[in-house]
């Protein structure tokens, strides 16, 4: 049943894209976002407080051309993620880091949205759906976890369906391999983020990971995982450390934004 559901989602995504083409909109390969707020869980674009004053056509045009970073504070609600200590959960650390990253990006003038603003449950597939519906320029998933120390930066790892190029010849993109067209840009983004973290003297490792929902996201997508310093769980909650990581990610995104191949 789940496979059927996934196929249907991929089909629905593609059909919505086809519908956009039929309507004559210049949306490229991106599915049409709903006219109303696409999701209640998605915060309004922080860089555009005057949205309400714009007419729908202007708003739509802006959405098609704006480079937006979507920050996904992983886990949330019942899904606590890694339990580091009785009251230290991955879901809370990722949310705090997400808020820091939003501030850093806003300081650099980059439009940004948080996928969740509160302690809410959002399924992994829904996270990918939101990213694709919103046509974000870059998707960054934030995690925290054992073992080791420092920061790990992950780019998507091609699954069998991603590696099969024949599967992506037409517009019917399988849900599990929506990332295939952006795989190289995701790797480049991960590399840039790692470089910026190293500049700030973080212990960084750059890896590929079969991490959900990265493979279902159309645009460049990475995951950044914060690890506790050896034996110091509280270091995960350190505002200074989180600010440093957020600042490095934001600098990398600012660099990637100006590179060829990036969406405007």
């Amino acid at each position: 049943m789940r496979w059927t559901s996934r196929r249907f989602k991929a089909l629905a995504l593609t059909i919505s894209t086809a519908c956009v083409f039929a309507g004559g909109l210049k949306t490229g390969a991106y599915p049409q976002a709903p006219a109303a707020s696409p999701s209640q869980q998605v915060a309004a674009p922080s860089a555009s407080p005057a949205d309400a004053a714009q007419n729908p056509a202007e708003k739509q045009k802006r959405m098609q051309t704006e480079f937006v970073v979507l920050i996904d504070a992983s886990h949330g609600g019942d899904d606590r993620g890694v339990v580091f200590a009785p009251r230290i959960f991955e879901k809370d650390i990722t949310l705090a880091l997400a808020r820091d990253l939003r501030r850093e990006l806003e300081d650099r003038g980059i439009p940004v949205r948080l996928l969740r603003e509160s302690d809410s449950n959002i399924s992994l597939d829904r996270r990918a759906e939101i990213a694709n519906e919103q046509r974000v320029g870059i998707y960054v998933a934030l995690h925290a976890g054992f073992p080791g120390r420092g920061v790990r930066v992950y780019s998507p790892m091609a699954s069998a369906s991603i590696a099969n190029k024949d599967a992506n010849k037409d517009r019917f993109v399988p849900w599990e391999s929506a990332q295939s067209a952006s795989l190289e840009r995701s790797k480049a983004l991960a590399k840039t983020v790692s470089r910026e973290l190293k500049k700030k003297n973080f212990d960084v490792s750059s890896l590929r990971a079969p991490l959900r929902p990265l493979n279902s996201i159309l645009e460049p997508a990475i995951a950044v995982e914060l690890s506790p310093e050896k034996g110091e769980i509280r270091s995960l909650e350190s505002a200074r450390r989180q600010n440093g990581v957020a600042s490095a990610i934001a600098s990398a995104i600012a660099q990637m934004r100006g590179q060829p191949g990036a969406r405007p």
Binding site: L124, R152, A209
Partner: protein, 196 residues
């Protein structure tokens, strides 16, 4: 006449004894159920054909964030599917023991393996394999990479691997690593090399 504060103290004491009793009974029940679970694992006779072999296991070491090749002597059947299962069981045996280089829950095991065509292996794992797996991108990734690489090293001709839990698909291993996709052994081989 017994003073009131003395009565309260006795009542509290009796309550504490009662709560302790309930706790001990529950604890004994839990231990008994664990023992029964272990006892219910009936040893099965080895499959016809096969021999004792030295096989290669790619073992995950959490402390070093590394995967390292180790040798183990295991009875390996002739059948490819059974070979894969025995190799994975030998690996999981290292993870469920204490102390473990990559701790996993007791009961983490392989229920069965199936072939889809000649080159795709479907691995059906037990519930504790996923339910009791520590959460974390790296930990989950190391588990999958060590299992897939161990299969590739000991069974020829497997190009894709898919994981099930108790016969059903599951979204992730423990909140991170994808269990919905088919893993390409060649891609996992490249990934595993980054950990060595």
């Amino acid at each position: 006449m017994i003073p009131r504060h003395f009565q309260i103290a006795i009542m509290m004491l009796l309550l504490a004894i009662f709560i302790s009793g309930v706790f001990i009974i529950q604890w004994r029940h839990r231990e008994q159920s664990f023992t029964q679970q272990e006892a219910s694992v009936v040893p099965v006779s080895p499959a016809p054909g096969g021999s004792q072999e030295k096989i290669q296991l790619l073992v995950a070491y959490d402390d070093d964030q590394a995967l390292r090749w180790r040798e183990a002597e295991v009875f390996m059947p002739v059948d490819r599917g059974l070979r894969a299962r025995e190799a994975m069981r030998a690996l999981l045996a290292q993870y469920v023991q204490r102390p473990s280089p990559h701790p996993m829950a007791r009961g983490a095991d392989i229920r069965n393996v199936y072939f889809l065509g000649a080159d795709t292996l479907v691995i059906d794992t037990t519930a504790p394999f996923a339910d009791g797996h520590p959460s974390g991108i790296l930990l989950e990734e190391m588990t999958l990479a060590s299992l897939i690489e161990t299969i590739s090293a000991n069974v020829e001709g497997i190009n894709k691997v898919k994981f099930l839990v108790e016969g059903k698909e599951r979204e992730t291993l423990a909140g991170h690593a994808d269990l919905m996709c088919f893993y390409q052994t060649a891609t996992v081989h490249e990934l595993a090399q980054e950990f060595q």
